[in-house]
């Protein structure tokens, strides 16, 4: 019995150690990625802020991706619905 428990105990210890070392970085990486995504949103929708994007017409396929991410974004910003009259995702 004790022998069969041995590996799972080691595994649990390993997992705990991994969690111990990784946890501090996880938050940082998650934040970094979110920041990247916000930058991406800003990049593509800079047009709304007066910076024209001449490539917009050729990157229309990104729209659904952006609609989904825009949805995530406005919820993250604490808005239940899209704040933009002409840009509605929900």
């Amino acid at each position: 019995m004790a022998e069969s428990e041995q590996p799972s105990r080691w595994k649990r210890l390993g997992a705990l150690l991994e969690e111990f070392y990784h946890a501090p970085y996880r938050g940082a990486v998650a934040r970094m990625r979110r920041d990247e995504e916000d930058l991406f949103m800003l990049f593509v929708y800079a047009e709304m802020m007066g910076v024209p994007n001449p490539a917009g017409f050729y990157t229309l396929e990104l729209q659904p991706l952006l609609l989904e991410r825009f949805h995530d974004w406005h919820r993250r910003m604490g808005m239940d619905h899209s704040p933009l009259e002409h840009f509605r995702c929900c």
């Binding site: 990486v29 001449p54 917009g56 609609l67 995530d72």
Partner: protein
């Protein structure tokens, strides 16, 4: 460049200020190529088409025979935009959650109305014609819209490339960070996660579509700048404003390393034009011709005379083509 060498090029662009005779020049070049047994396609990219009016026969957005070995095509910017957006919608079929269909459709309708949309769609058509390796034609001659428009067409691929690269590059990095997050034990069901299976597939396919489009523009650029492949012909009249605009155009074309092959000086007063009024006019023209020599001295110049009648129909166009060929042999030829 000699006329024969020019007519060997696969792509010829004819540009210049509005109303100086671009379409007529392009048509004459097309007829000369056709005479040399080169099958030529004449493409009008100006939203206000005059190709059909010039040949006195309806030409539309489908290739149409104008003469032996010569076909014509007028790109309709509105139809090009519709086609393009339909293509985008097709591309997105199966990539979008059904709940988003309506929102995506709304986006496409807005894109159709956005400023520059038709111009952008037109450029896409031009790029496709430029890289198309069809054996139906030996030569494609573009009668471009007024110079300002044309130069934007030249600049756009570069700008698009910068934006797409930025966006794709960013997306790649975001995905990379997502994978890193997974390895660090982040939850895969994070709603903002880009690397959930659906997103991963969707992002990959969208990236493929955008890369294909960017490749199209990139190849079009490469061809545009390949002197063995492409020649740009500037058309102007011996008048102040066309000279100034052509000088600007030449500078920008050179900056973008587009091979400019020749200058067509159109509507030069012929020697037989007489009278005190025309003598006065000719004096000013001489100054303008000298100015053209000063500004464009390095370029081959072909002169076409001012005609007493409008150029209309195939016979008149053949006459212009013959004068162009004769003028190409003798730079002092004025009709």
């Amino acid at each position: 460049m000699e006329l024969g060498a020019l007519l060997d090029r696969r792509l010829i662009f004819v540009g210049g200020k509005g109303g100086v005779g671009k379409t007529t020049t392009a048509a004459a070049l097309g007829l000369l190529a056709a005479e040399r047994d080169r099958r030529a396609l004449l493409v009008s990219t100006d939203p206000a088409h005059s190709l059909g009016d010039l040949f006195d026969t309806p030409v539309g957005s489908r290739e149409r025979k104008l003469a032996d070995n010569l076909h014509g095509l007028e790109i309709d910017p509105e139809a090009a935009a519709d086609d393009y957006l339909d293509g985008v919608k097709r591309n997105l079929r199966g990539l979008v959650r059904p709940a988003l269909y309506e929102a995506v459709d709304r986006q496409m309708d807005q894109a159709r109305l956005a400023p520059g949309a038709m111009e952008a769609a037109l450029l896409e058509r031009v790029a496709a014609l430029m890289v198309e390796d069809t054996d139906r034609y030996d030569q494609v001659i573009f009668d471009t819209a007024p110079t300002g428009h044309t130069l934007r067409l030249l600049e756009l691929p570069e700008v698009m490339s910068a934006w797409t690269e930025g966006m794709l590059g960013h997306q790649q990095q975001a995905q990379h960070l997502g994978k890193l997050l997974n390895r660090l034990g982040g939850r895969g069901d994070d709603p903002a996660s880009m690397d959930s299976p659906r997103h991963d597939d969707q992002g990959g396919r969208i990236r493929e579509i955008l890369l294909a489009r960017r490749r199209l523009f990139y190849q079009a650029r490469l061809r545009l700048q390949d002197a063995a492949h492409t020649a740009f012909v500037l058309v102007l009249t011996p008048e102040r404003l066309p000279i100034l605009e052509s000088a600007k155009a030449l500078k920008i074309l050179q900056r973008f390393r587009v091979p400019v092959a020749a200058l067509v000086v159109n509507r030069v007063l012929p020697v037989e034009a007489d009278g005190a009024f025309l003598a006065d006019r000719r004096e000013q023209e001489a100054a303008h011709l000298a100015e053209i020599q000063r500004r464009f001295g390095g370029l081959t110049q072909w002169r076409l005379p001012l005609l007493s009648r409008d150029v209309q129909g195939l016979a008149a166009l053949r006459a212009v083509a013959a004068r162009l060929a004769a003028g190409a042999d003798d730079p002092n030829y004025t009709g």
